[in-house]
């Protein structure tokens, strides 16, 4: 049997991001933002947008692949794919699906993208629920449980309770994101630093663990990466970054109705993470770069634990700001500011930051930059993660 793997089969050779805007501030429509991100990623790779032959996205992106292909003048539209599930659970999976298409010869040049002008659509923190609700919502919404934060809060409460983890560990995650954003000109929160006192004084979204600064922003923007076969990776402009592994899926019955998933206090990576490391032939200690999706800081905590990056019994000691800052940290986290402080680009900004770090062109450049782990939107289902590496890791 052949070795069925994505390891080293494809490379990311182009990255593109629009200006990132505060919620509702984009002068451009969501679809135009998507086009801008794809064109920028093509410019970065040194190719014509005509040569993109596939599109992969997630989170029910509204920028339809066939419309994109037509607007961009795609010569040969060979692949389109949507990763199931909401939010950013599919961010790494979309890159993985693009990689799978390229590795198997279904397409040659696939863009994985996300476009999101949240100001032009509904608020996450405000329920859009109808006056009568069915299915799972019938057992939740009448009790005032409607928003994403509320769907996940009780997972975090229980995890913190089980392991005796304090609020300060979550605060450190938030502080690290805001700290790194202060150097990043494209970060929405640049110039709006956060300190422990401001975090502590911020209003409760949900007690006992969701302060305002534990919750992601809502933003407008778009981002894209270009995936090509590894054997062609050096034909493009910049330093290629290789995909070493992608894991996607979820834990056993993680979508069981009315909060009945067997492993409740979880970000849903317990089964995924080991098989991803196995594909990458690397382990948690090899990851010099850690980009971990923050919808809520409690999800980051559980994701780090489930990927073997932090032991739960050490979380209070390890998750302190100094350990997470690029200047001093053993585990620099979300080095461009992440969803909390760069832009809530549903995590694609984290993939792009991992690419910049491996290229050596990041604003907050880490020292150990050979291998990066990117972890997609925790606590939703399905979820996904990615390991990227330099040529030296192949």
């Amino acid at each position: 049997m052949t070795d069925r793997t994505l390891r080293g089969k494809v490379a990311i050779v182009g990255i593109g991001e629009t200006t990132y805007y505060k919620h509702g501030q984009s002068p451009d429509s969501e679809f135009k933002l998507a086009l801008q991100a794809v064109v920028k990623a093509c410019e970065d790779a040194g190719i014509s947008p005509h040569d993109v032959d596939g599109f992969a996205s997630y989170g029910n992106d509204r920028s339809d692949a066939p419309r994109l292909a037509s607007a961009l003048g795609t010569k040969d539209f060979r692949f389109s794919n949507m990763f199931w599930g909401g939010g950013g659970g599919g961010v790494c999976g979309a890159v993985g699906n693009a990689a799978a298409a390229v590795a198997t010869g279904m397409a040659d040049c696939v863009v994985a993208f996300r476009s999101l002008a949240q100001g032009q659509y509904a608020r996450y923190g405000r329920s859009q629920a109808a006056s009568a609700v069915m299915g799972d919502d019938a057992f939740l919404a009448p009790y005032g449980l409607m928003s994403p934060a509320q769907r996940f809060a009780m997972k975090v409460t229980r995890f913190m309770h089980d392991h005796g983890i304090r609020q300060e560990a979550l605060r450190a995650i938030s502080l690290a994101c805001y700290h790194h954003a202060q150097n990043n000109p494209n970060a929405v929160m640049k110039g709006r630093p956060l300190d422990a006192a401001k975090y502590d004084a911020s209003r409760w979204i949900i007690e006992p663990f969701f302060h305002l600064y534990d919750c992601c922003q809502e933003n407008d923007g778009a981002a894209a990466v270009i995936v090509v076969p590894a054997e062609r990776a050096k034909d493009f402009k910049g330093k290629p970054v290789y995909l070493l592994a992608c894991g996607q899926g979820s834990d056993h019955r993680s979508a069981a109705p009315v909060h009945n998933m067997p492993n409740y206090p979880s970000s849903h990576f317990n089964q995924l993470a080991p098989r991803m490391y196995e594909m990458a032939k690397l382990g948690p200690s090899d990851m010099g770069i850690v980009q971990c999706y923050e919808n809520f800081t409690g999800g980051v905590l559980m994701s780090l634990v489930e990927h073997g990056l932090v032991k739960p019994e050490q979380a209070n000691e390890v998750l302190v700001p100094e350990n997470l800052y690029v200047e001093s940290g053993k585990m620099p986290l979300n080095t461009s500011g992440g969803n909390l402080a760069e832009c809530y680009m549903h995590g694609l900004e984290l993939v792009i930051e991992a690419v910049r770090q491996i290229r050596g062109s990041a604003i907050n450049q880490v020292k150990r930059s050979d291998a990066a782990i990117v972890i997609g939107g925790p606590m939703v289902t399905p979820v996904s993660s990615l390991i990227l590496g330099s040529e030296a890791t192949l």
Binding site: F139, Y143, G144, Q150, R158, H161, I206, P257, V258, Y264
Partner: protein, 144 residues
């Protein structure tokens, strides 16, 4: 209509056209708490589903259960996620597990003052809260 824990105006539960959850809602209107029990393997299951995930029997019955459980987790929302909740926060949502019934979990509100401590593991009992056309199941702390 008697007093309710949360204000009126929140989304109301509706039986889907498929009728899957109807025995539950019919039960609560009668003051009975019912969940699914597989006639194939005898396992308890919640929330409602068409198939038993253990033995794949489609023959899922509904059985009345005792409304006793313990708090598995909780949250106290402050941010109003719905116009009906604008002046209501904080309030308490609990996730209750039912050890007598395969540790299935149910979501409800914990009755009483929202400022009260919510001890994980504490025993609770179900309280039926009638609304116009449907009845919710709420929970209150009990002494052991």
């Amino acid at each position: 209509m008697s007093e309710t824990y949360l204000p009126h105006g929140l989304p109301t539960p509706s039986t889907a056209p498929d009728g899957l959850a109807e025995p539950y809602w019919q039960g609560t209107r009668e003051g009975k708490l019912r969940i699914q029990k597989c006639k194939g393997c005898g396992a308890w299951q919640w929330g409602p589903e068409w198939i038993c995930h253990r033995c794949h029997s489609f023959d899922l019955g509904w059985e009345e259960i005792r409304g006793r459980g313990r708090i598995y987790s909780y949250q106290k929302p402050h941010h109003p996620v719905h116009t009906a909740l604008s002046d209501r926060g904080p309030y308490v949502i609990v996730l209750v597990e039912l050890p007598e019934y395969g540790n299935v979990r149910m979501v409800g509100n914990l009755l009483g003052d929202a400022r009260q401590a919510v001890p994980i593991g504490a025993p609770v009992e179900a309280v039926f809260e009638p609304h116009d056309g449907y009845t919710l199941v709420q929970w209150r702390l009990v002494s052991t």
